[in-house]
Amino acid sequence: MSAPIIGSSPNRVGGIARVTGQHEYVADILVADALEAKFVTIDCAHARIISVDASAALALPGVLAVMTAADMPQPVPRFGPQLEDRPVIAVGETKYHGDPVAIVVAETRDLAMQAAALVHVEYEELPAVFTLAGALDPSAPLVQDPSLRPKDRFASTNVLREHPIGWGDVDAATADVVVEHTYTFPMVTHFAIEPHAYMAAPDGDGIAVWSTIQHPNWLQKVIAQVLHMPLAKVRVFAPDPGGGFGGKQHAKYEPLVALAAMHIGRPVRLVLTLEETFQAVRRASAEVRVRTGVNRDGSLVFEDIVADYLIGAYADIADRVVGKGSYPAAGPYNVPNVRIMARSVLSHTMPSTAFRGFGNPQVNWAVESNLDEAARAIGMDRLQIRLHNLARKGDAFIPFDTPADGHWEQTVLRAAELIGWDSPLPEGRGRGIALGVKSGPTTGLSYSTVRLLGDGSVVVFAGTSDMGQGARTVFAQIAAQELGAPLGWVAVVMGDTAVVPYDQQTSASRSTVLMGNSVLQACRSIQKQLSAMAARLHGLDEAQVTMDRGVIHLPDRDLTVLDVLVPGLGRLGGELTGNGEVRKDADPTHPLSGAPAFFEFNCTAIEVDVDRETGDITIARHVTVSDVGKSLNPLQVRMQDEGAAIQGLGHTLMEHYIWDEKGRLRNPGAIDYRIPTSMDLPLELIGATIENEDGPGPYGSKGMSEGALLCISSAVGAAVRDAIGVPMRDLPLTPERVWRALQEPSS
């Protein structure tokens, strides 16, 4: 038996290609005759398009087309994962700053840019809403045409949907102390380092589409529908993206590029600039009011939460983000009375979409911060109040849902120990601790195929997108472990819908669990075939042969895979094939249409130093502990937690969109939108995991990759409040805001 590959940290599959610049991203792929596209936009958010004059642009040699809504199939196709409300290009009006009015297609990128600048758009600015207050004003202009939802009681408002959830009776409950505050969370963008890029090429009687997409099969459906083609004629290539974080989940401009390519009859490529990416993907901002009722002994009596999320002009997946993200808002605690009312509110801003944490960080910031205030109000230690109320394994902390699926107190105690919660605090410093819980995938469908070739090497076909999280490596580890192949003998094929079987999506930290189980199933099917083969070869009963970890056990001895495979396949050779199918169907009776496959659970503890003169925060010590069930690849697990934690420091300390009064984004790009650099990291970053092998994934694993981001703001905010003695309720905690908080007379 070979040393276990599961639980070790081999070099990342595809890692060398990435760090040496060999990896081919969509923007690197050369296709003969490819044209380049560029958007025409206007310097205005909401406007009626009066006319588009493209004559000067079209007069440039090498400009092939300037397409507007008028050049699209009529009615202009609309698409979207939740509502089919988004037209492939602005129709009649722009709904947000950056909404493309036309697309220019030319021989080169420079030419396309030059031509785009020559397109003259005449427009009339229309009234618009960019803030929650503006959008919720009874006299606000409507973002969405009410005729799109005639029967909806919210049709004449900017509320897209409400998501009420709760249990117990908040109004009847009485608590010794009630603490109520309002918290805000900024609009931020994913800032994947790889630019969002799309390419489409007519392909016989079908089409080939390349995209930086996380969900290639979903995109395939969208393109098939827009072009009225059968799925089999739409081939989506999805090379491993360079970071996605949710921003690359759903189709954005692929339908438009596909229509342009079909119209012109040549391949068309569109690579978004960083600035354009800011206009394409973002996280919803939110305002959350929390009323927390607590008794003097520390028991939580009720949580009453109102969360408004400002989504954009089209739904994208944003309303699901609101519903699913707010659902566990009361936290991982046994709270007898809970009332949550979350609303997705439309605005004349770019559509918000999925983003690591999926709507949870917004409410976590509010509810965990308020819990600190409650602890202070009753004079209880902030760690103790959490341990006192924390759900223990098996507790139905959300009464109608999957019970707590981990020994979460172990995670909390480990974090407390690593930060030295009970040790004396150095002068001028502050500490904070916060918990985060997120519902994992509620539905899922992952097919896989594994081929054991005649020489014992293995090919795994899995439709997950490896955007840096290391899915390729984990699937290769599973196949290597189960089929006894060295890791280097396993190839993982992804990102081509013509070749790889269907996978619903790469999101919600699902792939190790759902696709991992599917790959495991496919390997186990091959193991069965090998066992049967061995029985046949050795004249045994099938029941007398077993196989695990690449070893075939006969009653009297052990055989390797090749011992069986080579004679078993015989003179013609060939291969064994196994299929996996993991299906988690929707449950229409569940508020989220399905109970989560697992919870992601994290505890973050922070120690900060605050410069009281400037407001600078230094994170002296950052502890992040996640319950991951089992680390299949400890290094990758650690990198996911560190990456999530650091990404979360962005919206905690510095990242936010800045708008002008006309709803124009003032800080797109890397100059005035700051993300953490290596110099902004905590002085000490300590990661740890709790591993009880109690997850639903292979070998007891749970999904992970978002956990360390869920409660980071709450933990940092708590530490800052501890250091300066003044609560801060608006993110990000910029030096200027900390300084302002310190200027308040009360401090």
């Binding site: 420079d110 840019m113 400037t614 800080n667 700051r674 953490p676 902004d680 200027e736």
Partner: protein, 288 residues
């Protein structure tokens, strides 16, 4: 990117001739860390870009000559920050050069480009102001020596005339001991443009010079010859009054995304006090 001609003259005279011929349609290229960004975003659309990096007379270098440190126009920040002469005689400039951008930017960005770009936030400007630097410019009428305080006009505008380019920056070598410090305020620790920059230099004769930028259309310098600022034991109120008079020249823009005017003004005071104290400490520790 907008199309333009690219020329790489071999001599300063040749470069001057091109700049004279094209006037505002020509742009000088040194490290390109400011210019290339503007070429890309279309805010600069020159018809000709004049690269200085092949001009032998402007070869990178820092030398001591007739009581001056002479920094040639193509010398990059990395070299300014590491140069032993600069570190010895102009430590605040070395400090400022060492915080410009990132390692990659500093390997490319020139000191001359930093001041010719004339951003109010230019990190090296306050230190050059407190050290009384002189900008050496060559143009159709020969060489001019422009005191740095007369060089800056407002963002993007200097007193260079048509056809002129900067060939070097000179700093007087101090005759006595002095201490100096550079301070800046940014939104994060990683590279960022400053929302306040301050340099302070104190000499053994009791002269204090304090310069700051990013809080008005151009960086400015003030001097206190009374000896009061340089003396930490002097009356607190008197010292504060002098500093307040110096800070009165600040007028930060309310439109900036980087920081509000109130915060900038408050930070100017915090950084000003820290730079002053740091300069005094260094004067008494080991000199500049």
């Amino acid at each position: 990117m907008h199309a333009f001609a690219y020329v790489r003259p071999a001599t300063v005279a040749e470069a001057v001739a091109i700049l004279l011929a094209h006037g505002p349609d020509a742009r000088v290229l040194a490290g390109g860390t400011d210019l290339v960004i503007r070429l890309r975003d279309g805010s600069a659309k020159p018809s000709v870009v004049v690269d200085l990096k092949r001009i032998a007379e402007l070869r990178p270098g820092i030398r001591e000559e007739d009581g001056h440190l002479v920094i040639s126009a193509t010398t990059v920040m990395t070299d300014v920050a590491a140069d032993p002469l600069i570190r010895r005689y102009a430590s605040a400039l070395a400090e400022a050069a060492s915080v410009v951008g990132s390692v990659q930017i500093r390997n490319r960005a020139t000191l001359a480009g930093n001041i010719c770009n004339a951003s109010p936030a230019a990190d090296t400007a306050p230190s050059l102001l407190v050290y009384g630097a002189v900008v050496v410019a060559q143009g159709p009428d020969g060489t001019r020596r422009i005191p740095i305080d007369e060089f800056f006009v407002r963002s993007g505008v200097t007193t260079l005339a048509r056809g002129e380019l900067v060939t070097a920056i000179e700093l007087p070598v101090p005759t006595g001991r002095r201490g100096a410090m550079h301070q800046r305020r940014t939104r994060r620790r990683g590279h960022d443009l400053a929302s306040v920059t301050v340099s302070c230099c104190v000499d053994e004769a009791g002269m204090t010079r304090l310069a700051y930028g990013s809080v008005g259309p151009r960086p400015v310098v003030y001097a206190d010859a009374t000896g009061v600022l340089a003396d930490p034991s002097a009356d607190r109120e008197a010292r504060l009054a002098i500093l307040e008079a110096m800070f009165a020249g600040a007028s930060p823009s309310p439109r900036s995304m980087r920081a509000s005017p109130e915060y900038r003004l408050a930070m100017l005071r915090v950084l000003g006090a820290r730079a002053l104290q740091g300069a005094i400490d260094r004067l008494h520790a080991d000199g500049d």
